[in-house]
Amino acid sequence: MTTSTAAKYGTARRAVTVRVNGRHVTREVSTRTTLADFLRDELDLVSVHVGCEHGECGCCTVLFDGLSVRSCLMLAVQADGHAVETVESLSANPAELHPIQEAFAEEQGLQCGFCTPAMLLRTKEIIDAGREMTDAEVRHEISGILCRCTGYQNIVNAVQSAGAKLRGPTAGGRD
C-alpha cells in the first residue's frame, strides 16, 4: 500500500450515515460489517433475519433506495448516504398493522415467521409496481425468498389479498 492509499483507505472503521425507516442514523462501523449485521447489531432491527449469509434464502431482504436487496450481500459502508427500509417501515405497532401485514395475518401467510419480514417488504414492492398479477406470476415474483414452512399457497393468497385492499375492491387478477 502506498502512503497515499494508506492515508485514504487504511482505516478499518468508518462513520456512516444512513436513512433507516425515514430517520437518519450515524454510526461508526467496521468496513467488513455486512448491512444485515449493521441493521441487527447496531440498530437492533432484528426483523432482518439472517438465514444463510450467502444470498440463498432471501430472509435478510430490505429495501435499499426503494429496491429489494439481500442485506447479507452488502457492506454497511455501502449504505452511507442511502435509504434503507426494514419491515418496521410498514408498521412497528401490533395494534395498527399495515394492510399488507393485515392480509398476511388474515390469510395465514406465515407459520414460523422467519421469512415473513422479507416477504412483507417484497409484497410492498410488488404492489407498488402497480400491475395486477396472476397467482402464478406472484409465485414467480416471490421466488427469491425461501419459505421453509407454508408451501407458499397462503403467501400467494396474502399478496393477492393485500393487493386488493390497497388497490380497492374492483381489483381482480386471480387465476
Binding site: M1, T2, T5, K8, Y9, G10, A12, R14, T31, R32, T33, T34, D37, E53, H54, G55, G58, T61, F64, L67, S68, V69, R70, C72, L73, M74, L75, V77, Q78, R122, H140, E141, S143, G144, I145
Partner: protein
C-alpha cells in the same frame, strides 16, 4: 460466516480504480454488485488484501446506444437490462436473458459486467455475450484494450483479464431490425443456474431460409460455447422442425461437462439438444413476428 478483513477502497473515478487495481494487483478484487463476491467473502473462499468497490463511479453507470453498438458500463445492474427501452430496441436478446438471472433481489444489485468477470459457464450473460459477438473493454494503467467474448472466457470462472485490469464496459453489436431472437434454459428451480441454456439470433431471407444463425450454449462446458456446427448446418436451409432438430444434434460433441450432483453427462447431452432446438425455434418465431409487424 463473516467476511475476513480487507482494505476497503471506494474510488470515485475510473482512473483511481485502475490505479488501485495496479497497485494491489492479484491481491485485490473489484467489488461490483457483490452477488457472487460477498458469498465468497462470507464463506472465506477468497481473502483479498483490498476490495476495490466501483459502485461510486458515476462514469461506469451508463447505457449508451450508437448506430451499431450498445455499450453497457461496469456499474450497470442486471435489472436495468430488463427495464431499459434502448436495450430492448437495440439488443432484444438481453432483456429476455436477464430475466433468468437469479432473482429480482439479486438483479437489483448484480451488474452485467460482474457476471461476465465472474465467468460462470452456466450463467446467462456470458452465454449471450458469445452469441452476440460482444466485446469486453478492459482498462489498466497502460491503456484500454478490447477482448472478444470468444477469447474472454478461458475456463470455469477464469477470464482473459489481467490482475491489474478493471473491466469497464461491454459492447454489443446492435441486432438487425428483422432478426429474431430466442433464449431458453432448463434449471431445477426458478432462479437457479441453468443445467443447460441456449441463446439464438437468426436472420431469414425473403424465402424464409436462414441467412445467418448465431447460437450460444451455457452449462455444458467450462466456458459458454458458440455452437458453430449447429449454425453451419442451418445456413441456407428452411426453418423446418426437421432441419432444426437435425442441426441441434450437432451440439452433442461440445458437451464436455462430466457427471455432477446436478446432472449426468448423458442427461446434459440430451438437454443441450433440447435447449438449442427450442432457442432456434423461438428465434424463428420472433423473426416471423418482426416481419409480420412491419
Amino acid at each position: 460466516m463473516k467476511p475476513p478483513p480487507f482494505t476497503y477502497c471506494d474510488p470515485e473515478s475510473v482512473d483511481e480504480a485502475v490505479g488501485l487495481k495496479s497497485e494491489y494487483g492479484a491481491d485485490s478484487l473489484v467489488l461490483a454488485g457483490g452477488q457472487s463476491l460477498l458469498p465468497l467473502l462470507n464463506m472465506r473462499l477468497v481473502r483479498p488484501e483490498a476490495l476495490i468497490d466501483i459502485n461510486k463511479i458515476g462514469d461506469l453507470q451508463k447505457i449508451e446506444g450508437r448506430s451499431d453498438i450498445l455499450e453497457v458500463g461496469a456499474g450497470v445492474r442486471q435489472y436495468e437490462l430488463e427495464d431499459h427501452a434502448l436495450v430492448g430496441e437495440l439488443v432484444p436478446l438481453l432483456p429476455e436473458a436477464a430475466g433468468y438471472i437469479g432473482h429480482i433481489e439479486t438483479r437489483h444489485r448484480g451488474t452485467v459486467c460482474g457476471s461476465l468477470a465472474h465467468a460462470d459457464p452456466a450463467a446467462e450473460l456470458p452465454c449471450t455475450a458469445v452469441t452476440l459477438d460482444a466485446t469486453v473493454v478492459a482498462r489498466s494503467p497502460s491503456g484500454t484494450r478490447t477482448i472478444e467474448a470468444q477469447h474472454f472466457f478461458q475456463g470455469r470462472m477464469a477470464t482473459a483479464l489481467e490482475p491489474e485490469e478493471v473491466l469497464v464496459a461491454v459492447r454489443y453489436p446492435v441486432t438487425p431490425q428483422a432478426a429474431g431472437h430466442g433464449f431458453v434454459e432448463v434449471a431445477r428451480r426458478v432462479g437457479d443456474l441453468a443445467l443447460a441454456g441456449a441463446a439464438a439470433v437468426v436472420n431469414l431471407d425473403e424465402n424464409g431460409h436462414f441467412t445467418s444463425v448465431s447460437v450460444g450454449v451455457s452449462g455444458i462446458s467450462d466456458t459458454p460455447v458458440r455452437a458453430r456446427a449447429v449454425e453451419n448446418a442451418l445456413i441456407g436451409e428452411a426453418p423446418t422442425e426437421e432441419n432444426i432438430t437435425r442441426a441441434a444434434d450437432e451440439i452433442v460433441p461440445s458437451v464436455t461437462a462430466g457427471d455432477d450432483i446436478h446432472a449426468t453427462r448423458a442427461y446434459r447431452r440430451h438437454l443441450a439438444t433440447v435447449v438449442v432446438r427450442r432457442a432456434i425455434t423461438a428465434a424463428v418465431a420472433s423473426a416471423h413476428e418482426r416481419s409480420d409487424g412491419k
